[in-house]
């Protein structure tokens, strides 16, 4: 229950996963300001095995990691161990991508979205990994290596509270400040009367979304940023400087993190780029769920127009962080569009018509989208099926993964579906039994990526995650 509650609170923020910088930003930042090359993609070294020849397996178990992990801080010429890592990386990338394209790889890929679980495993508090992203990175890499996973997110905790505190954001419950140090950060939606956007401001948002964010929204969500025309102070100016520089620092660290995941443990960075549905943006960060629910009845056309105005910007943001190699998907974190938050007719009128064209445009440009569909989305599977086969990977949270597979498994790869309560509180044999059923029924013909239903936090059992991993390696071989 805590997990479910936490998800609703965290909806709008856990999201991101800009595993690569927005490309334009990255080029400017990485090469001009920092003056160093932090390219994430290493070229294949001479003599390295070619994936397409099929000679990629290690001498150990077909899908296992051959080398134990140790932090690697410098990169030089590739040693034999580094060549092993490159080979392992290539093997895992092929496995992961094949499954996401709804194909049958050599075995079931494992791509767990481990958030505060990484802190628990590495011996950090939630406060440490949330407030010190270097510790979050270390914890993520330690887990990636020691659990033999194919792909992970570089920092699934994601929200770096050093940045949010510098900017003075009001809507976070920060571990160690507002909540206990070993509780994951929380998103706190304000009461309706204190929503960050007022009900009569739809026209302003629709007319100029970027201007609205700069001039109205940011001063309201920040304790320190002031609106144009208001008296300001050194503290006000510093909030913008520190917030901008903090984002630069944080985003610039991801390419190196991805590089270390690759070279230390041969692990693939699972996603690249972030998308949210226009409707979710209004619900999460602007009007709030309660306010938006009333707006759908009182001023529905303005809601729709605002969603439409947000569409090109959200597409732009998503493509800016997309994987240039077009291997790993852009992730969309889906919140308020499912039953019971809105009705099926509201989904059909607002949520889907202003999201579907974005997905289609992203696919037209060659990128898949990972639907991280938090909650129950079974009522909308027919809508999802309108999308071109293969254009999305559908992550299953609260729905029955077997039913979802029967409904759309012929069109899209699935991930997730292993209940978090089983991973947190179940016996190891229960974990094995559930994984066996999912592998046998959902993954039988490929097109499945092993993961929990929702992100794994620090209530998740280390033993059970190991069981899920090891059993998938043993039983999930095609």
């Amino acid at each position: 229950m805590r997990k479910a509650t936490r998800f609703l609170e965290k909806f709008s923020t856990v999201a991101c996963f800009l595993t690569f910088l927005p490309w334009k930003l990255r080029s400017v930042v990485t090469y001009s300001l920092l003056g160093c090359a932090a390219e994430t993609r290493l070229s294949r070294p001479p003599g390295m095995l070619d994936l397409r020849r099929g000679d990629i397996f290690t001498k150990q178990r077909p899908c296992s990691s051959p080398v134990s992990w140790r932090p690697q801080l410098c990169l030089g010429n590739l040693s034999p161990m580094a060549e092993d890592m490159e080979r392992l990386y290539a093997q895992r990338l092929k496995r992961y991508v094949t499954a996401m394209r709804n194909g049958k790889p050599d075995c079931v890929p494992i791509r767990p979205f481990v958030a505060e679980f990484t802190a628990k495993y590495a011996g950090f508090t939630c406060q440490e990994v949330t407030h010190d992203y270097e510790k979050a990175f270390i914890a993520a890499r330690k887990c990636a290596a020691e659990f033999d996973w194919d792909a992970v997110v570089g920092n699934m905790v994601y929200v770096w509270t050093g940045l949010t505190e510098a900017l003075g954001l009001k809507y976070y419950g920060v571990p160690g400040i507002h909540i206990p140090a070993d509780t994951g950060f929380q998103y706190r939606e304000p009461p309706e009367e204190k929503a960050f956007m007022k009900p009569d401001e739809y026209d302003a948002l629709s007319a100029d979304p970027t201007g609205f964010l700069l001039n109205v929204w940011l001063p309201r969500v920040s304790k320190d940023v002031v609106a144009p025309g208001e008296a300001n102070s050194e503290r006000n100016n510093l909030a913008l400087i520190k917030g901008g520089m903090a984002m630069l620092s944080y985003f610039s660290a991801f390419p190196k993190q991805n590089e270390l995941l690759r070279t230390e443990s041969g692990t693939v960075s699972a996603i690249s780029g972030i998308l949210k549905a226009p409707f979710d943006i209004i619900a999460d960060k602007l009007r709030g769920y309660v306010g938006l629910s009333k707006d759908l009845l009182r001023q529905p056309s303005k809601v729709l127009k605002a969603c439409e105005a947000l569409m090109p910007h959200l597409l732009h943001v998503a493509l800016g962080g997309a994987d240039p190699d077009k291997n790993v998907p852009i992730a969309i974190w889906m919140h308020r569009g499912c039953v019971p938050f809105i009705s099926p007719s509201q989904f059909d009128r607002y949520y889907w018509p202003t999201l579907k064209p974005i997905i289609e445009e992203i696919w037209r440009r060659g990128h898949q989208v990972l639907f991280y569909a938090e909650g129950r989305w079974g009522a909308h599977l027919q809508s999802f099926a309108e999308l071109e086969a293969g254009s999305i990977v559908l992550h299953v949270d609260q729905d029955d993964v077997f039913e979802v597979h029967r409904a759309v498994g012929d069109r899209f790869a699935l991930s997730g579906g292993i209940p978090n309560h089983v991973l947190s509180y179940g016996k190891p044999q229960e974990v094995r039994d559930y994984c066996r059923k999912v592998i046998d029924e959902v993954a039988a013909d490929g097109g499945y990526i092993m993961d929990a239903s929702a992100i794994m936090q620090n209530d998740t059992s280390i033993e059970n995650v190991r069981v899920m991993t090891d059993f998938t390696r043993e039983h999930g071989v095609y």
Partner: protein
């Protein structure tokens, strides 16, 4: 294809906070290498766009 919603001419398209055209009006008529000025203005301006939109979407 997704197009920006109907907006006043002074508003911003995706990726832009202050359009180059506005900046250009502030410059003398005889600036040199206008394309260089434009490219760098737009590159740096896009950083501001990235910042504000990622504040909304990612944080």
């Amino acid at each position: 294809m997704i197009e920006p919603a109907e907006q006043p001419s002074s508003s911003r398209v995706p990726g832009v906070c202050i359009p180059w055209e506005e900046r250009l009006k502030e410059l003398a008529e005889n600036v040199e290498d206008e394309q260089l000025l434009k490219r760098v203005w737009q590159d740096v301006d896009s950083l501001a766009y990235t910042f504000i939109w990622h504040c909304l979407v990612s944080f």
